[in-house]
Amino acid sequence: MSVRSLAIGLGSTPKRVLPGFGLSLGISLTFVSLMLLLPMTGLFGQLAGLSLAEYWAIITNDRVVASYVVTIGAAAVAAIVNAAFGLLLAWVLVRYEFPGKRLLDALMDLPFALPTAVAGITLATLYSSNGWMGQLLEPLGLQVAYTWVGIALAMSFTSIPFVVRTVQPVLEDMPHEMDEAALTLGASDFTGFRRVVLPHLWPALVTGTGLAFVRSLGEFGAIIFIAGNMPYETEITALMIFVRLQEYDYAGASAIASVVLFASLALLLAINIWQGRFIKRLHGGHG
């Protein structure tokens, strides 16, 4: 443990005992520069052609602003639903044995494996008023297709694996003694879960939910078929970008894309920093 905390501790400069620093640095930097950063210059080249006032006018156009509200709102709902549903699925998959468990486990990756356009067409088919699910839900007064509920549903579908697959390994690694001890001390299942399990899972759950949220912000293919795309009501930001592209307005498209890009990157950076800090705290507590 001392070696590891030494390596992780900030401020101390550990000796690089392991080989491969130069090689891995070389590969990583070459790849990141050529494949990720170089193409991004194209985006910023487009932005450079805009004055600050023009940029501001494009990204604060009231229809675009309405699309931010729709996108963020639906993504937030999808993320919250996924946090609960994903936690349930991860828990059941790790803690219990039951017939069909392997199938359920494999099914978790389906949303990643299914092309988003296929998911979009299929969800729209299922949840429209004459689809299998729509027929059941509509009489209950719940209209899914062509409302923001449909948008949230499509987002939730495409991002659920992020939560399940982030929480699952942490739950697996959770030491037996932790929750056994809680029960021995007379805690109920619910109290034990709240006091012992949840604090342990918390970072993974937040990370997974955060990733799901970011993914939802940029999703286009799965949503567009089920959204209805009514101005101010069910138009998502990705559609606004798509519309600008159709108009050959590359600068406008790049401007709106840059808003999504910066928001997403800021969120991801926050998740990374937070995750790093948490791991440090965890190890600090042990060491």
């Binding site: 070696v3 590891r4 390596a7 550990p14 392991l18 491969g20 620093f21 891995s24 640095l25 590969i27 990583s28 790849f31 494949m35 990720l36 950063l37 170089l38 193409p39 194209g42 985006l43 349930l88 059941v92 803690r95 219990y96 359920l104 494999a106 099914l107 990756d109 389906l110 949303p111 494996a113 299914l114 092309p115 356009a117 296929v118 067409i121 299929t122 088919t125 299922l126 299998w132 699910m133 579908f157 659920i160 390994p169 690694d173 929750d179 299942d189 990733l211 993914r215 940029g218 286009f220 970008i241 498209a253 790049s254 894309a257 999504v260 890009l261 997403s264 990157l265 991801l268 950076l269």
Partner: protein, 275 residues
């Protein structure tokens, strides 16, 4: 010893809730795809699958996936090794940079490549002088596919390698083992499941990517049409069965990789028990 949630009632309730919700939310769409694909019988389905253009699309899609995976594998392992085994300034930024593809809408990803390598882009213009065309041909499709899939392997490996720490590798160094041997004998066995999972995600996304590829493909039937693009086109032609037949092929590829992963995991688990 009892663990939290082991009471039979709780257990039954949670399992049924999970199974029912997963069935409605995840399994039902899958069933719907196949139901649509076979809506007009197996003959129509088969005719659609063995259509010349569908076969060409399958071939191109697999070709792109096969080339994408090794690139992402090398990059992902190198990057994970770098950020989890060494500390250096800019480490956190590098780790966030690889998330760019997650943060960029796929259509925009395709667009930035087009702006760079297209006829009007500075790099594309220069290449055009040598009569090299990257966009609207398979190299362009390959480039954007690598772009959208490259974070998966690294993202799978980094948390795991961080959690495992480098103690074992350091011990191997003190024993005088050379670098590659350490990687092969010590690191690889520890990370192979995460690696495999990363490859599966990479493959799934590479096979199914639509938005980015649609921008750079040119959609020439039988030449630069990938399976998802072909599917969309059939859908435009009012050929719902054909579209869902292609969709079911993609779903089938997805299912096969998932089965492969599950069976490998199962074999590994059995070996552990025997050992």
């Amino acid at each position: 010893m009892q663990r939290i949630g082991d009471a039979p009632a709780v257990r039954r309730l949670l399992i049924s809730a999970a199974v029912v919700l997963a069935a409605l939310f995840l399994l039902l769409p899958l069933v719907a795809i196949f139901a649509q694909a076979f809506a007009r019988g197996i003959d129509v389905f088969w005719a659609n699958v063995t259509n010349h253009y569908t076969l060409a699309a399958i071939q191109l899609t697999l070709f792109i996936a096969v080339l994408t995976i090794p690139v992402c594998l090398v990059f992902g392992v190198a990057l994970a090794w770098l950020v989890t085994r060494f500390r250096f300034p800019g480490r956190r930024i590098l780790q966030t940079l690889i998330d760019i593809p997650f943060a960029v809408s796929p259509v925009v990803a395709g667009l930035v490549y087009l702006l760079l390598y297209g006829r009007n882009g500075w790099l594309g213009n220069w290449l055009d002088g040598y009569d090299i065309q990257l966009m609207f041909a398979w190299p362009g499709i390959l480039l954007v596919t690598i772009f959208v899939t490259c974070p998966f392997v690294a993202r799978e490996l980094i948390p795991l390698m961080q959690a495992q720490g480098s103690r074992e590798e350091e011990a191997a160094v003190t024993l005088g083992a050379p670098g590659w041997t350490i990687f092969r004998r010590v690191t690889l066995p520890n990370i192979r499941w995460a690696l495999l999972y990363g490859v599966i995600l990479t493959n799934a996304r590479a096979v199914g990517e639509f938005g980015a590829v649609s921008v750079v493909s040119g959609a020439i039937r039988g030449q630069t049409n990938t399976l998802p693009l072909h599917l969309e086109q059939l859908y435009q032609d009012y050929n719902t069965v054909g579209a869902f037949a292609s969709a079911s092929l993609l779903a089938l590829i997805a299912l096969l990789t998932l089965v492969a992963k599950a069976s490998l995991e199962w074999r590994a688990a059995r070996r552990e028990v025997h050992a």
